[in-house]
């Protein structure tokens, strides 16, 4: 088994100590940090798949998310030190909407988007519309992501999109919504551009948008 394969395997087995150890070893051996982040993308994809197939439970997702976060934190300073910047494919501002504090799914979406090369600005939970608007002004993202798991959040998503429109920023961003309580109807109601119940699919949609824009 190659180091890369062993590394991915340890993440999928949720062996935190081993995964972090291998990451550390690879960095010390002078391996390209970008290669490690590439492996993280593969692992994140597989994790999403396992959850969709019912092999992983929520507790597994939470642990996997922590492990990937830990690895990113190890790799990032090394990247800086080497003066390397990972090619940022796009910028994503994300948050769980006002009234909703569920963040397990959102955190996974963050990790997977980062693994796929997005620069992610995470606004946390219970995020009011104004905060989304401010963040768009401050960070100028390509994409805004909203997570929503409770029915009450539908109204918040609509209010957020309306606030973005009012601020005259709607044309600058694509908007994707995710989480257990979103569907086609929620997308229409809120005025978003896409919806998903899967972080992996969400990342695919976002990458597609970035490619379309580049053309």
């Amino acid at each position: 088994m190659s180091v890369s394969e062993e590394f991915i395997k340890s993440i999928l087995e949720l062996d935190e100590r081993k995964a972090l150890e291998i990451a550390r070893r690879r960095l010390e051996a002078g391996e390209d940090p970008l290669k490690i982040l590439g492996d993280l993308t593969i692992a994140a994809d597989k994790i999403g798949e396992k959850y969709e197939k019912g092999e992983f439970f929520i507790a597994d997702l939470v642990m996997a998310g922590e492990i990937m976060k830990g690895i990113s934190e190890l790799v990032r300073p090394k990247l800086k030190e080497l003066g390397k910047v990972r090619e940022v494919v796009g910028k994503l501002v994300i948050g769980t909407v006002q009234g909703d504090i569920h963040d397990i799914g959102k955190n996974i979406a963050v990790t997977m988007a980062e693994a796929a090369g997005f620069e992610v600005i995470d606004l946390g939970v219970d995020v009011p519309p104004e905060k989304f608007v401010e963040a768009i002004k401050q960070y100028n993202p390509n994409i805004v992501g909203m997570s929503c798991l409770i029915t009450v959040g539908l109204e918040s998503m609509k209010k957020t999109v309306d606030a973005i429109k009012e601020a005259g920023l709607r044309d600058r961003v694509k908007i994707i919504i995710g989480g257990g309580r979103v569907d086609e109807y929620a997308k229409e109601y809120a005025g978003a551009d896409a919806w998903t119940n899967s972080a992996a699919e969400g990342v695919r949609i976002m990458l597609k948008w970035i490619r379309e824009k580049a053309r």
């Binding site: 935190e16 439970f57 507790a59 597994d60 642990m63 504090i101």
Partner: protein, 424 residues
């Protein structure tokens, strides 16, 4: 239109409440004892959201008198056979804080709006307080304890809750020994007792006016949920299980005793069933469930059972992956209430003759279906589970919304009255 059985029951429960009371008590008893009741009981639980059909959330959660009005209205319009209506939030940690005071522990098991105002806990948010007036309360939990503090919990859970957790989780209890602390804790217990008296009064009125037998409940908890809901947040426990497995196990084990104490507190007053709502169950893979969650919960259930208290467990979410473990309990151990297992009939078949099984009615069907669809659904369900021994029909606790059409709820009750014996 011809008069339907549900309309007859509405009239009968008003005209002859005593006879209806007897009938309901019997079918419930039969179901719990795994027999085929004369008809399949229908249960309805609410944490109050449904009451906003009649009263604003900012009113109903803060006015016990209105709770009585709403409860009577509910049973008057929807004559279910078994009901627990507690428009209040999860507050089991307060019971554990008072586990050595059995006269108080069970009275503060649920957190009402006024109780929230008194201690200013951060576990919950309420309409007209932290939330807009039209929303039901929310339980948001939180992280109040560090993994390093498990040891202290293990050494003395009741002291730990009182001296470490509650001061962090409740604004008005932040300084133990201060005047504000003493005032708040005393008022809190007083308010709990007021709420409990109001529930006793409501139950008496429901029995007298509409022949609804009260449910002789006491309360317990799954130890790991206690940690997830009140100390470490669900995601915190999920990580702790993997990072500090031994501490988590010992902590769960240490909580069994105080939880059982709370569960037994109401026994002298005739309590027969310990209500245990589960939270983390569906979130854990079987391997972790079997190693960290189930053993301590099982111990609680068995301890109570030894003292003649059966358990009434609400299996939140999809409990399908863990359902086999229930068979480890002695036959007739209690009631297994399923929120939304992937396949209710399969679950029923597995537990048939072993556990009383409750559930089977998807909230979405009641919310968005039609009376005809509901009738067909119930008919099919009762046929598939015939002769329905040990079965109680119920939608999940997870809130029948006030928008649920009256005709749909009535159709559910109606179908249970219609499809019995040969008609199944």
């Amino acid at each position: 239109m011809s008069r339907e059985p549900v309309d007859e029951l509405i009239e009968r429960q008003r005209k002859e409440p005593e006879a209806v009371y007897k009938e309901r008590a019997e079918i419930f008893e039969d179901a719990v004892n795994l027999k085929t009741p004369a008809r399949t009981p229908v249960a309805l639980f609410t944490c109050g959201h449904f009451f906003s059909k009649w009263f604003k959330p900012s009113v109903i959660y803060f006015d016990y008198g209105k709770i009585k009005d709403a409860s009577l209205k509910l049973i008057e319009s929807f004559p279910v056979d078994f009901s627990v209506m507690a428009p209040a939030a999860e507050g089991f940690i307060f019971s554990v804080a008072f586990a050595d005071a059995p006269e108080i522990a069970p009275t503060i098991r649920f957190l009402t709006g006024p109780m929230h105002d008194i201690v200013k806990d951060k576990y919950t948010r309420w309409p007209g307080r932290e939330l807009p007036e039209h929303l039901p309360f929310q339980f948001i939990g939180g992280e109040y304890v560090e993994p390093e503090e498990y040891r202290q919990l293990i050494e003395g859970p009741i002291d730990f809750v009182n001296s470490v957790v509650l001061p962090r989780a409740c604004e008005n209890l932040s300084k133990p020994g201060s005047a504000l602390y003493v005032k708040s804790i005393a008022r809190f217990a007083f308010e709990g007792s007021k709420f409990t008296s109001s529930l006793v009064d409501i139950n008496a009125a429901l029995a007298k006016n509409y022949g609804l037998p009260p449910f002789p409940a006491t309360f317990a908890y799954a130890p790991l949920d206690f940690i997830g809901d009140f100390l470490r947040h669900p995601t915190g426990v999920m990580l702790d299980i993997r990072r500090h497995p031994d501490l988590v196990k010992q902590a769960a084990e240490a909580l069994v005793e105080p939880i059982v104490k709370v569960g037994l507190a109401l026994k002298p007053l005739g309590a027969k069933y310990a209500f245990i709502p589960l939270h983390l169950n569906e979130m854990l893979p079987p391997k972790l469930y079997n190693e960290f969650y189930w053993p301590a919960l099982k111990e609680v259930i068995l301890e109570l059972y030894k003292s003649d208290i059966k358990s009434f467990v609400f299996f939140e979410g999809d409990h399908m992956p863990h359902v086999d473990t229930i068979l480890e309990l002695p036959k007739g151990w209690g009631i297994a209430y399923f929120e939304r297992p992937k396949d209710f009939i399969k679950v029923y078949e597995k537990l048939r003759g072993h556990s009383c099984v409750m559930g089977g009615i998807p909230v979405s069907l009641l919310h968005s279906g039609t009376p005809k669809k509901i009738d067909e659904y119930v008919k099919k369900l009762l046929k598939a589970t015939a002769p329905n021994e040990g079965l109680i029909l119920a939608p999940g606790v997870a809130e029948i919304t006030p928008e649920t059409p009256d005709a749909n709820l009535k159709a559910l009750i109606n179908a249970a009255l219609k499809y019995i014996g040969e008609n199944r």
